[in-house]
Each structure stands twice: as C-alpha cells, then as structure tokens.
C-alpha cells in the first residue's frame, strides 16, 4: 500500500495525472458524525478544490484506477492510519495494496478528527463500513447497467466487478464515470462478518516502512523556508509572571534574531515565558541559556508534594460528592460481621511522549499555516482561529505523524505558543521544547487518594462496599467550574461505576481536591489510578475471606456477562488453575471503563528482597478486532505504560515546580526490565470498542496482587521498588 505522509504534491505524480482527464467518484457523509447520511460528492469535487469541500470525502475513486482512502484521524501510534481505511476497504472489496491512504488536513468536513478516549475505530465503524459499501453497490450497479444484466448477477472482488454467469469483469476505474451518475444508496447492504477478508486478520501497517527508514515525518521534522527556531524560557513555577529579563548576552549569540516575551495558552490558563528566536535551534537554545529572567511566583510557589498526602488524608474524612449510592452502606457496614479498610495513594505523572512538544506556525496577515503533532487537528484549527480572531477556514493545519500522544497532545498550548511568536515577528516560527520543558510544562495526570471499606456477613459474603476517591479535577484546572459547589470531576468515577461487582450496599464518593497545577487526561485518565485501588482492595477482600481472588471476583459479578466472559477467558488463557513453582505468586485484575475492558494475570517469583515478573498474560474484549496484531500491540503498550507508572518515577512538586526534569529522574521502564507479555483477544463479533487504553489500568494492580500472593506484602502506594519491597 502506498502512503503519503507528506502532503506536498509529488511532481511526477502531478505530471502523470495532469495528462489525463481525471473523473472521480467521491463517497462521503454530509458530516462525519455517526448517523449522518451518505452523499455523492463528485460534483462538489469537480466544482471546488478538495481542501474547501463542505463534506467528508472518505472514499475517492478515480477513473485512472486510483483508489484513495482518507485517514482523517492523526496517527499517534494507535494504528488508525491503517485500521480506519481498512474498514472502508473491507466493504469496498479492495485489498490494501490497491489503495492509497492519504492523511487528511484539518477540515470541518471531517467532523471530529480528534483521537482520544480509545474512541476512533468504534465511533466510525458504522460510518466507514457504510461509505465502503455504498461505493461498492454503486460500482456493481454501474457494471450491471453497462453489461445490461441483472445487478444480482454481479459481485465485487479485489477492485473489480464480476459478472457471475459469464465471468467477465471490469475494474473500478472503468466504472467510475457511470457510477458517479447513480444515486448513493441510503442504506447499503453491509457484509456479513463471515465474509470479512481484512477485518479480523493481522495485517501489516503501511506507516511502518516509513518509520523504520527515518522517512516518516513527525511534527518536529516540519520546516519551511525563512523559518526561525524558538526555545522558550518558561517559568519553572508554571503560573509565575515575568518581573524582568536581561537579554544582552543572549542577543550576542551568533544567529539569535529576536528575544521577546512569549505566551502559552492552555485552555483557561495562559503561561508566560521569554522566547529566543534564532536561525538554528542550537543558537536559540544557547541564547535561552544566556538569558537572565526574574520570576514572580505569586502564591504558586507554596505547593509541595510533601503536604499533599496529609491534605488528601484529611479530605478522605469528608464525604465529598456521593456519586453512587445503592442500598444503605452505613447500616450494612455497621452491622457487618467482618470489616476491612484500606487507603491507597497514587501519584502525579507526566505523559512524556518521546517526541517533545513542538509546532511550526506561519502567520501571514489573517491567515495561518500550522504543522504539528496533535491529537486534535480540528481543534487546532478552531482554537487558533478563536485565538487570532480570524475565520477557521483561514487556518491550514498539516497533520503529521505524532511521536506519542497519551493525552498530552489533547492540549494545544504548544500550538498557541508558536502562533503567538510567529504573529509577533511576522515570520514562520518553529517552537521545539526541550525534554525539561516537557517535564515541567504539565499538564499532569491527577494524583488520587482512595479510601476503601468493605463489610462481610457471617458467611463471608460482601454486603457493604465503599470506594471514596480524593482527586483533583482535570476539568476544574483546565476550564474552571461554573458552580463553586461542584468542582469535582465526574471522570474520577469513570471505572468505578462500571465495576461489575454486585454488592447490595454500595457507595462511591468523589471528593474534590484543589491543586494549583493544571491536570490533564493521561492514558486511561482516572482509571489509571483508581483501578489500582479498587482492584487491589477487591483482592484484599478475597484474601480476607480465604477465597481464590479470581473465583471471588467471578462469584461477585452480577449481570455483567461481558466481564464474566472476559474473566473466564483470562482464567483459561493464563493457566490460572495450574500449580505454580515454589516461590511464585500470581495476581489478577480487570477493568471496564469508557475505553473498553481488559484484564491481566501477572506471575512473579520471589527474589532476595523483592520479586521478578516472570510473565504477564493479558486478555481483552474489544469486540471485533479490526487488526488483531495491532490490538495486541496496543495492549502490550498499555501494559508497559501501566508497569512504568507502578515501578518507575512519579512527578512530585517542590515549591510549586515539578522536581523531575528529564529521563534520568523521571524514569521509564526499559527493554531489560520488560517481562514477556502475552495478549489474548476474546473472540467476538460485536462492534469494535477501544484498545488504546484498556491495557493499562489492570496491569499494576495485577502485579501488586501477585506480589501479595508471593510475599504477603501488600503494596498500597505507587510507585514502588520491585527489587526492594521493604
């Protein structure tokens, strides 16, 4: 399959096309939102240039034979660059090497172009299938018309329509002219899952050859003639303001062109900085190092991690917002024969994608051109327009490969920063953050503190269960809260509500904790921390009544057959019931939340003072697995990120600033520390659901539960040292 990450026209391709009269059949939606109607866009394509189309051209068939499928979501490593066009190709009856996948630029015709919440494939599954099927039906009708035969004697396969009785065939390209004149079927017939040729089979990703040869272009690789590089000295305490700065030495560095105040708008917050703009990035960096900036930290310099635990503990005594209340927890807990209570403490974390934040912006009058790595191309367009008070169509956004998102690139501060600087100096400006900028710049995954209580009856059956989450609010720190009495983020309850345990008296509390630092959506969001507390505590409950932790969970699942099936599948695939070697322990955890559901079984063996992870077995129910190999990849990655957060560094604050600055003190799990990870996909013909995030939440609690099984030590605070459990 061909792939064009670069959006510039290849001259040779242009000349080739230029010599022919190209006629296209374009099938799209009147908007890319679910439930929207398919329309034939061919006339509009003929009328206007593609970039100014009003609607979404997802499938473009040319009479030259070229089949173009648009990738209208950014590729951040999750695989949608292939998986979404693959769904169209399935219904269109073409193989992947017959199509060209083209990355779309930001345009409202594509509707929501954002990637987050493990949402892309499942939200577009129906639309993409419909688009492919409609085009296939129109081509089939066109063939029947040409041959003057009944439509039901014709079928599509591998980019051709065949006439069954005679065996004659015609390519899609040859049928495009006629197909274009036909009505778009409103409800095209979708294929039966049994007939799938692409969906459900492992297939190789087309972006990978470019990524192993250094040819893939990421945001940081963009450049245009005449651009300046920028490095911005930012307040170490994010909200600090500039008192004064001294730039004489900076301006003496050869290549330095401008030193000016910078601003970085991240939703409701705008942070200050001093930017050095130069001919090379190295000169900009040196200039920045030569700056002397005096900052006013205001009230923000008083924030310390050391105080947070104490504050969270105090808050855990309050009720906060009672989010879920089933039965009568207080009475049931008071009357319980056996009681269990525990607190869990989870830290702040940074996203730390490998590609540092960056953006190239070129503001010219009332138009802007942007090249960046983002999870939200359409928001980049809208927010830039709002920021500069210009129409969105004046903002052209080039979508490049993204060197890791994990939620960080759902924030557009790096874009606003580049736009601001380019506007000030009237030249294209490429801002490249250092790793230190990235680590200090937030936003951070919220730290959470959980207090859990459970009560059992005389027979050892759980009758009362409470999970109270003390959590800063992502929404409040980013957007503010209209009602001062409702500052808690409902997201903090996201997975708890879906936890499948059927206990008669149940209460979930959401206690708001005010923090002066911007919080952000981190892979798996609140589930990345609350699942650890919840699933570790359920393990404690199982041990408290002397039951097998997996059997205990299975018995507690009520109506949620999906989770029951997943856990049963995980039990089988992990060999849970097999005897273990001496010194080994096994642990299980699973989780269902907005993104989907997965579970892990972790095997550990005792070492001198800690444990070694011998093996991890993960199971995921993602409905239909569009590309099973990519599903496995995502679950492997989620597992590693979960382990990293459990075993490596946390972000801590000292006098208002993050203490960690780079990978030496904010460490990542490395190859030599990564255990074997097996991923099993629950066979399913349900519609697809998420795979980007579900692999993360259960990994850490499954590990902690295995550690308890092997050593009797219960881990209630992350991160911890796996080699020295204390």
């Amino acid at each position: 399959m061909k792939q064009q990450p670069s959006l510039s026209l290849n001259r040779r391709a242009f000349l080739k096309t230029g010599g022919l009269t190209v006629s296209s059949l374009v099938i799209g939606f009147n908007s890319a939102q679910a439930g929207s109607e398919l329309v034939n866009l061919s006339e509009r394509v003929a009328e206007k240039a593609l970039v100014s189309l009003e609607v979404s051209p997802l499938v473009i068939l040319e009479n030259t034979g070229k089949i173009i499928l648009m990738a209208h979501k950014p590729e951040i490593g999750q695989g949608t660059f292939q998986s979404m066009p693959l769904i169209v190709a399935e219904e269109l009856e073409v193989s992947l090497d017959q199509v060209e996948i083209r990355q779309a630029m930001a345009d409202k015709k594509f509707g929501n172009m954002g990637v987050g919440g493990s949402y892309s494939v499942r939200s577009e599954w129906a639309n993409l299938r419909k688009a492919g099927a409609a085009a296939r039906e129109m081509l089939t009708q066109a063939a029947a018309k040409t041959w003057n035969v009944p439509v039901d004697e014709c079928y599509a396969r591998e980019g051709k329509i065949f006439h069954k009785p005679t065996g004659k065939s015609s390519s899609y390209g040859a049928l495009t002219e006629i197909a274009k004149t036909l009505d778009v079927p409103k409800e095209p017939k979708l294929k039966d899952a049994k007939e799938f040729r692409l969906v459900g089979k492992p297939s190789k990703r087309p972006d990978i050859p470019a990524k192993v040869t250094g040819r893939a272009k990421f945001g940081i690789d963009a450049e245009v003639p005449g651009m300046l590089y920028a490095s911005v000295d930012r307040a170490p305490v994010m909200q600090a303001t500039i008192k004064s700065f001294e730039d004489t030495a900076a301006k003496k560095i050869p290549g330095v062109q401008h030193v000016l105040k910078a601003e970085r708008k991240m939703n409701k917050n705008t942070f200050q900085g001093v930017a050095v703009l130069a001919d090379t990035y190295w000169a900009a960096l040196q200039g920045r190092r030569a700056l002397k900036v005096e900052w006013d930290n205001g009230q923000y310099g008083a924030f310390n991690s050391a105080d947070i635990t104490a504050r969270f503990k105090e808050l855990a005594k309050t009720d906060g917002h009672v989010d879920t209340n089933k039965g009568d927890f207080d009475t049931a807990f008071a009357g319980a024969t056996k009681k269990l209570e525990a607190d869990y403490e989870l830290p702040f974390a940074a996203h730390a994608p490998m590609e540092p934040q960056n953006c190239l912006a070129s503001v010219k009058g009332d138009t802007v051109e942007i090249w960046t790595s983002t999870q939200l191309p359409d928001d980049v367009q809208k927010e830039t327009a709002k920021y500069l008070n210009i129409p969105p169509e004046n903002v052209m956004v080039h979508v490049l490969f993204v060197g890791g998102g994990f939620g960080r690139r759902l924030f557009l501060d790096q874009v606003m920063e580049a736009v601001y600087l380019s506007k000030q100096v009237g030249r294209p400006v490429k801002v490249v953050w250092t790793r230190e900028d990235d680590m200090a710049g937030g936003p951070y995954r919220p730290a959470t503190y959980s207090r859990l209580r459970a009560g059992f009856d005389g027979a050892g059956k759980p009758v009362a269960f409470q999970h109270k989450v003390v959590a800063p609010s992502i929404n409040d720190t980013q957007f503010g809260s209209k009602d001062p009495a409702k500052r808690q983020d409902d997201g903090a309850m996201e997975g708890l509500k879906e936890a499948p345990y059927d206990i008669p008296n149940l209460r979930f509390n959401n206690v708001f904790a005010d923090v002066p630092v911007p919080m952000g959506w981190w892979r798996a969001v609140y589930s990345a921390t609350t699942c650890f507390a919840h699933e570790s505590f359920v393990d404690e409950m199982a041990h408290a009544v002397g039951q097998d932790p997996l059997a205990f969970r299975l018995n507690l699942i009520g109506e949620n057959t999906r989770m029951k099936n997943l856990l049963t599948f995980l039990r089988e695939q992990s060999g849970w019931e097999k005897p273990l070697p001496a010194g080994w322990g096994k642990g299980v955890a699973f989780w269902q939340f907005f993104a989907g559901q997965a579970g892990h079984v972790v095997y550990v063996s005792k070492t001198d003072k800690g444990v070694k992870i011998e093996k991890i077995v993960a199971a995921v129910d993602c409905g239909t697995a569009v590309n099973p190999d990519n599903v496995r990849s995502q679950i492997e990655g989620g597992t590693v990120m979960g382990l990293t957060a459990a075993l490596k560094s946390a972000i801590t604050f000292e006098e208002g600033r993050a203490k960690q600055t780079n990978f030496h003190d904010y460490q990542m799990l490395r190859l030599n520390e990564t255990p074997p990870i097996e991923v099993h996909i629950l066979p399913s013909s349900e519609s697809p659901i998420g795979v980007g995030e579900p692999g993360l939440p259960p990994a850490a609690p499954a590990l902690a539960n295995a550690i308890f099984a092997a050593t009797g030590k219960r881990v209630r605070k992350l991160p911890f040292d796996i080699n020295d459990l204390g």
């Binding site: 250094g214 490998m354 540092p356 998102g405 590693v640 990978f663 190859l671």
Partner: protein
Amino acid sequence: MAVISLTINGKKRTINADPQMPLLWAVRDVVGLKGTKFGCGMAQCGACTVHLNGKPIRSCITPVSTVANKKITTIEGVGSEARLHPVQQAWIEEQVPQCGYCQSGQIMSAVALLNTNPDPTDAEIDQAMSGNICRCGTYNRVRKAIHRASDMMKESALKTK
C-alpha cells in the same frame, strides 16, 4: 562558527556551524536528515543514536567538531524502503513501531549490536538495548525483531558462502 567537514552515510558534507553544536542538530537542521530524533538532550533515551565509525553514539551530546572527518551513519544510511537492511525488514515483520519516534534510535542500536555480535543472547540484547527508551512499550517486539534479524543475516551469510 567554523567550517567542519563531515562524512555522513558515505557522502562528504561541509557545514558552517558552531563547533559546540551537537551532532544531532547538525544532522537534522544543517544537513537536513530528519530521521535522527531528539528525545532528551542528555544521552538518556537513545532516540538520537547514530554510528560513529560503526559504533553507536548519542548525537545529542556529541559536539559536531569532535566527529569531523569520521564516518557517521544515520538511519537514512542503513537502508531505504527499496533496499531494506535485515534489521529494518525484521522490524516490519514483527510490526515493531507504534508511534515510531524512537525507532530510528532503536534500529541504530540493534544494527550496531548485530554488527559486532551476529547471534546475541537475550542478556546481550538487554545490555545493548537498555539505553533506548520506547514510551509506546514496543520492547518485546524489539527483542523478537533482533532475533529475527539475526536469523535472517545468518541465513543470507550461509547463502553467500
């Protein structure tokens, strides 16, 4: 500023740059080869790995003046899509990359390892590859791909014999 002559992927290039400029920025911004990536700037993550006379180095902390006239190889010099190096081929077979940003560095470390040790054990892979961070968590596939590349290289060596 100084005139520095570099040999990158077999080609001689003369650049005018600050002698202290790290090789990384010289390669990316002056020479224009964007495959080598910036990750940390302090030799912690390996995204900027290139070869200096065949040995892997971190270009983000290597002043460009110190590598004048020495043989530098970047990811672009390892192989192209038309002529893939066995390591790159193995990377495709095992579908290693996710976001792909760190993979140039991973591949440079792997190629250097296999050049000196054609049949590495898991422990030797641990040693050679633990300097390269992948935030997407592709490590197990990296390991598998190195073993696969090793097999491929041994096979082709047998054939040429």
